[in-house]
Amino acid sequence: EPTMYGEILSPNYPQAYPNEIEKSWDIEVPEGYGIHLYFTHLDIELSENCAYDSVQIMSRGLQEGILCGQRTNKNRSSPIVEEFQVPYNKLQVIFKSDFSNEEHFTGFAAYYVAIDVNECTDFAYAPCSHFCNNFIGGYFCSCPPEYFLHDDMESCGVNCSGDVFTTPTGEIASPNYPNPYPENSRCEYQILLEEGFQVVVTVRREDFDVEPADSEGNCPDSLVFVAGDQQFGPYCGNGFPGPLNIETKSNAVDIIFQTDQGGEKKGWKLRYHGDPIPCPKEFVANSVWEPEKAKYVFKDTVKITCQYGFEVLEGNVGLTSFYSTCQSNGKWSNSKLKCQPVDCGAPEPIRNGKAEDPGDTLFGSVTHYTCEEPYYYMEKEGSGEYHCTGNGSWVNEVLGTELPKCVPVCGVPSETFTEKQR
């Protein structure tokens, strides 16, 4: 059973220890305690490296010390001639003697007590990322103001997530910037602008100082931008390695800044602004855009006017123009509407004549009317050719939209009346 203290005496102490003996003591104190082992008497045959007789102190399989010879107290006020402290709650003491103790060495007398371990300082590593608080049997970590203790109960982080930036322009910096950013933190921010605007992030090279990548190129601390299914980064190092302006093509961008336990860098600062989403200047054949611009962006409205002879069909209605608006998704409204040639339809039939099949009845097509010769003729000369015009009508130069008229040829008998000679 673990005890808080105890005594260890070499065999036959205070008489001479026997020859050829080996004895060990397993000391155990309650967990959370270390062991203070001190010798008040040490009288063991001296040999090089204590090869003949010795008392050996082992902790966690490692030798803490090996003693032989005689010791006297170093401090008159203290009986201790030799002492050891281990921050662990177990210790093994091993006494060995060889075949001769001719000079009657008396061995040793040692005592141990459980001592409080200062977990904050007694170990090679610092258990707490910030403040370590020792107490008897343990320790606890604590954090500076505005930090919080992670679930591992040792590291501190900051509550840096949750900010949503909705203003059209803004500036965001890592926690404490330009002072060193907190370790073991994950900061998640969001820029959320009105639909139709893309977030453009600008990071100046000199505004970026994040723990650089390791030899394999992995960033221990990193800054990442996520826009939809696009990711920009991870970025790390001294000086921003990405482009000066990152056009995200999205109105919502997540900013993720992840740090590990180390690093003493100042962090980063970025600026952002909302750029209206551009709509491509699409080529719509046979049309004119108004107003004419080199670039069109969200909420821009253009009037698309079909060239003469072309129209837009909405249902059965033909229109000469339509409006299209650059939408928040970067696409034009009414993009399915196209300017197509006006269709004059089949030429109307006329009495006593016919229109030749024009083949095509679209704008620019030509048809010819003819009369049933020789019994009919066209009332107005040159009125046979009709062009399909831009307003959807077949038009003749002489008659306009009026149809040609085939009138009977008069006064011409198909056979001449000849009188027979009497």
């Binding site: 009977p408 011409v412 008998p413 198909s414 056979e415 009188e419």
Partner: protein, 252 residues
């Protein structure tokens, strides 16, 4: 027709046959027939045929029948209670508006109207053509169309005719400038049953033969001498005005 010869309708494709009374007319348009007033004064709903040389009933069944929509008798035509006693044939002209347009072809086509220029005043010795199914020297009327060529004559020639029938006194008849006198040679003349038919003269302004209706068979003191024809040129204004005012754009 007195004198003359059998003809084909292709020679006179403007010739219209009136079955009651037996008479003729001249097709001047798809919708209009020109005839003499005395032909239609007693029957303002005449049945007419075109395109047939023969006017036998069985043949007419296959001919192109044309029906009148309305008859326009010249407003100055004098109506009489007893037409048989008529002595005044002045303004003997009428228009018949047809219900349906006539389809033209080799056997049916209109005759031109005279122009308004002086060349269209028929001159004495101008030769004209007449046609019809009217009385001949041998028959009251004929089934097969006949035609004849005859010259224009001075109106005095018509006035001078002394009918063999003593009951007919030429001097009581009215002669006006609205009449053309023609015939007199070799007994070629129009006669009863030919009334309303065209007296066709070749257009002086056309290179290719083309005929206009200079006159309409109107009356005469005696068949086989000189005949009197309504001078169509004098009625051009009335004809065109009547036609224009009574055209139906929907069908034209």
């Amino acid at each position: 027709i007195f004198g003359g010869q059998p003809a084909k309708i292709e020679n006179f494709p403007w010739q219209v046959f009136f079955s009651s009374p037996w008479a003729g007319g001249a097709l001047i348009d798809e919708h209009w027939v020109l005839t003499a007033a005395h032909v239609v004064e007693g029957n303002q709903d005449p049945i007419m045929y075109v395109g047939s040389t023969l006017v036998r009933t069985s043949v007419l069944e296959n001919a192109q029948m044309i029906t009148a929509e309305r008859v326009f008798i010249h407003p100055d035509w004098e109506f009489m209670d007893v037409p048989e006693t008529r002595k005044n044939f002045d303004n003997d002209i009428a228009l018949v508006r047809l219900k349906d347009p006539v389809k033209m072809g080799p056997t049916v086509s209109p005759i031109c109207l005279p122009g308004t220029t002086p060349e269209y005043n028929p001159s004495v010795t101008d030769l004209g053509l007449i046609s019809g199914w009217g009385r001949t020297r041998k028959q009251n009327h004929v089934i097969k169309l006949r035609g004849a060529r005859l010259p224009v004559a001075p109106l005095a020639k018509c006035q001078e005719v002394k009918p063999t029938d003593s009951k007919v006194v030429t001097g009581r008849y009215v002669f006006t400038d609205n009449m053309i006198c023609a015939g007199g040679e070799k007994g070629v003349d129009s006669c009863e049953g030919d009334s309303g038919g065209a007296f066709a003269i070749q257009d002086p302004n056309e290179e290719n033969p083309k005929f206009y209706v200079a006159g309409l068979v109107s009356w005469g003191p005696q068949c086989g001498t000189y005949g009197i024809y309504t001078k169509v040129k004098n009625y051009i204004d009335w004809i065109t005005k009547t036609m224009q005012e009574n055209s139906t754009p929907s069908t034209d």
